[in-house]
């Protein structure tokens, strides 16, 4: 299994998408793969839609994921999963956190937040894990671990060994948070 695998992680600025992509990239490196990721900085980060793209394999060329080729789409915000839907391959796995972050366009009344998101997600994605990552993280006492819970669920769609994930988590979060994040990851793995 050395074919290039692509993952798209979506969310809203400030949700921890960049840390999640770093952990995934380091796990792929620990498993011996060539890795490329891409992310947004600057203006786009301020409360806007944020997307990180991760690709790994024997030799990765493009740092960007072509539409329709991602093996996994993970989203920390539910409508953002629909926004980046087109990146996922037709048989790909979508992992979506059941959280709504209301955009300014909605709170100011110029747009509406869709009401039937779950139904739309189920229609859009043939393989969907729809979970409340924040609630799971709260069970462990820290809502900030929601992104690691999401990664745990995502890991079911990728061929990376568990010790590579553990090594990546250990090298990406503060020492005192390593155990908590590894438990958060394991919680996420139970969803499928």
């Amino acid at each position: 299994m050395r074919e290039t695998q692509s993952v798209v992680l979506a969310g809203v600025g400030g949700q921890g998408i960049l840390l999640a992509s770093e952990i995934l990239a380091k796990a792929a490196m620990a498993a011996g793969y060539d890795v490329k990721t891409n992310e947004v900085h600057g203006m786009a980060q301020r409360g806007g839609s944020v997307v990180a793209q991760v690709r790994f394999g024997a030799e990765v060329h493009s740092p960007l994921v072509a539409r329709g080729t991602a093996r996994v789409l993970g989203s920390l915000e539910q409508v953002e999963a629909l926004r980046f839907w087109e990146y996922l391959a037709q048989n790909g796995l979508a992992v979506v956190n059941a959280q709504a972050v209301v955009p300014v366009t909605v709170s100011s009344g110029s747009a509406k937040y869709p009401e039937d998101v779950e139904a739309r997600l189920r229609r859009a994605f043939s393989r969907l894990v729809y979970m409340n990552a924040a609630e799971e993280a709260l069970k462990l006492g820290d809502i900030r671990a929601a992104n690691t819970v999401l990664l745990g669920a995502i890991s079911k769609g990728l061929d990376l060994p568990i010790d590579a994930w553990q090594e990546a988590i250990a090298s990406s979060v503060k020492a005192k948070l390593v155990d908590l994040n590894i438990r958060a990851f394991e919680l996420g793995m139970k969803f499928h």
């Binding site: 992310e39 409508v79 300014v104 709170s107 859009a124």
Partner: protein, 592 residues
């Protein structure tokens, strides 16, 4: 040894390993992390955030002329500001190697245009290195110093957003080492004083170097020719990665030429053109490579069909694997894959970037609009505050510092309505000062508002002369913006705290009535900086007085929502309290 590095961090490592003794720059996405990484790495004699890109390049030139390897970093539009020293530097040459890093931003992820730095390299006739990924960026920047010294010219490294902000596993073993000598300035007027009599022969010398530079660049590992079938692809920089992957995934037997340096290697291009009947040129933005390919084709194989910009490859935005794959498939007569669409896209609420909850710019603009009214003209500038375009107080944004000069022109051109322009503190220092002086000198009756959040917020909170700190965190002279404004000739200068809405409106009203050049400095630390510094204010909540009038909702703070028929404060509230002073019904309280 391999490390997982951001493209800009890989560039920083290369700068350090090459022994660059001085690094200067002005922040600009996607280039800012180069200097920030270098500050963390340490070991560079001098690193600075300069006040603008022209200054940064000139400081780097000074160091170079004293024999120190030096680097100037900026975003693509920064090179416009630095173009004056840059163009003549190409004639005068360097001392220690000088690398200018100009980061391009195809698709304008965080920029006002998508100009192509490769045009500047052609214009000035200096070499340009076009990296495809973080590894190449690191290797190229190191090579750039050697090349600069070998040919006595500045060298440009031109990463794009997808290189600067890519991360990958980068080999960080130093590939060469340089010993740093004692800096000394050797007097040499014929090469350092740009008198006409000196520069005429230097222009000739620069032209004469071109062929040799191209020859040397051709032999670098970043140019690679692979002759196979009689159709081919030529691609430059990052586009070459898309093209290579596309050819592999389509399983085609195409000849391929990867280009990583400019001037592009004409002998390799000629060899390719002699071999093929049809060729596709793949590059982002301008047809720089394609024009060179077409010129060579006329000489070596006029019958070859050259495809590229216009019909096959877009000149607008950025490329990725899919459009490149589609262009190659089309050249080869392969029908494109059809892709399903999702009707849900129509119901997605837009999620544009916006000012943070509690951002003081929102408060300043609210007060400004209250005082100046809807008939006033509001030229604005480049910074986070440009995102407030929906508040009615951002009527123009052209380039750094242009708010003041555009406002002056609007007034002096004959407009009689009130005019209040605005720009951030870092932008004011970058290139607002000359405009303010010009407004005073030429009697432009306008109000200039400095949105002073005491940092360069948009690009990641870099310090500037107003903050009293240098790039490396050392204490420096904290420059007073109000003293500068007075010294430049503003007759009315007041400082306000924008969280005090009523006082701010009053000051704006006074500025509006003032019969001369007025300056309002609206000062409140950036909320992100304040939170990081440990500032904690109590959040607000809505009480039973709320009538659902939506006045606070229209203010546009992400912490204010509308639920049922009343306003609601969500957990994003940082407690600035501005909404409470806007509310007419005393319906917002600080949480006890």
């Amino acid at each position: 040894m391999k490390e997982y590095l951001l493209g800009n961090a890989a560039i920083a490592k290369g700068i350090k390993d090459a022994g660059s003794g001085l690094v200067s720059g002005y922040p600009g996405t996607p280039s800012s992390e180069i200097i920030e990484t270098l500050v963390g790495l340490g070991g560079i004699k001098h690193i600075e955030w300069s006040v603008n890109e022209k200054v940064a390049l000139e400081v780097a030139i000074g160091a170079s002329w004293a024999g120190t390897r030096s680097t100037a970093t900026m975003k693509h539009v920064g090179l416009n500001v630095a173009a004056d020293p840059f163009m003549t530097l190409a004639y005068l040459g360097v001392g220690g190697g000088l690398v200018l890093i100009s980061a391009d931003d195809p698709f304008c992820h965080s920029s006002q245009n998508e100009q192509d730095t490769r045009r500047y390299a052609q214009f000035a006739q200096v070499p340009l290195l076009d990296p495809a990924d973080p590894q190449e960026a690191k290797d190229m920047v190191m090579y750039g110093f050697d090349l600069s010294e070998k040919f006595n010219v500045p060298v440009i490294l031109r990463p794009t957003t997808r290189v600067s902000h890519a991360r990958s596993d980068v080999n960080v073993d130093p590939t060469s080492s340089t010993s740093e000598g004692q800096a000394s300035f050797g007097r040499n007027p014929a090469r350092r004083v740009s008198l006409p009599v000196h520069v005429r022969p230097l222009h000739r010398e620069l032209l004469e170097k071109q062929a040799a530079m191209e020859e040397v660049l051709a032999s670098t590992p970043w140019n690679r020719l692979d002759l196979k079938g009689d159709h081919g692809v030529i691609a430059s920089g990052l586009s070459a990665l898309y093209a290579e992957e596309a050819i592999l995934s389509l399983g085609l037997d195409l000849s391929f030429l990867k280009i990583g340096t400019f001037p592009a290697p004409s002998k390799m291009i000629a060899a390719m053109l002699r071999h093929v009947k049809k060729i596709l040129v793949v590059e982002e933005m301008e047809p720089v490579l394609q024009e060179q390919v077409e010129m060579i084709a006329r000489k070596v194989n006029p019958g070859v069909e050259v495809l590229g910009k216009g019909d096959y490859i877009s000149r607008v935005g950025e490329l990725d694997l899919l459009p490149v794959k589609e262009a190659i498939a089309r050249m080869e007569g392969i029908s494109p894959e059809t892709r399903p669409t999702l009707d849900a896209e129509k119901i997605l609420p837009p999620r544009p970037p916006s000012l943070c909850p509690g951002c003081s710019h929102r408060a300043t603009y609210y007060a400004m609009h209250k005082a100046f009214g809807k008939n006033a003209v509001y030229p604005s500038d480049i910074g986070c505050y440009t995102m407030a375009v929906n508040m009615g107080t951002v009527d123009t944004c052209l380039c750094m510092g242009a708010s003041i000069t555009i406002a002056s022109g609007i007034r002096l051109g004959g407009v009689e309505e009130p005019i209040c322009c605005s720009l951030g503190d870092s932008t004011f220092i970058h290139s607002g000062l000359t405009g303010l002086l010009n407004a005073a000198y030429n009697n432009a009756r306008i109000t200039v508002t400095v949105l002073d959040n005491s940092t360069t917020a948009m690009t990641g909170h870099q310090p500037h002369p107003g903050t009293g700190l240098t790039a490396t965190g050392e204490a420096s002279v904290p420059v007073s913006l109000e003293d500068i404004a007075k010294a430049l000739g503003a007759g009315f200068v007041e400082v306000v705290n924008p969280y005090d809405i009523k006082a701010t409106i009053d000051v704006f009203k006074k500025a509006k009535e003032y019969q001369g050049l007025s300056v309002v400095i609206s000062r409140q630390l950036c909320v992100i900086k304040a939170l990081k510094a440990g500032v904690r204010r109590k959040p607000l909540s809505v009480n039973e007085n709320c009538t659902g009038c939506k006045l606070c909702v229209e203010f546009g703070c992400p912490a204010i929502e509308f639920e049922g028929d009343k306003a609601k404060i969500n957990n994003l509230c940082i407690g600035c309290g501005v909404c409470a002073s806007i509310c007419k019904n005393n319906a917002l309280d600080v949480v006890k």
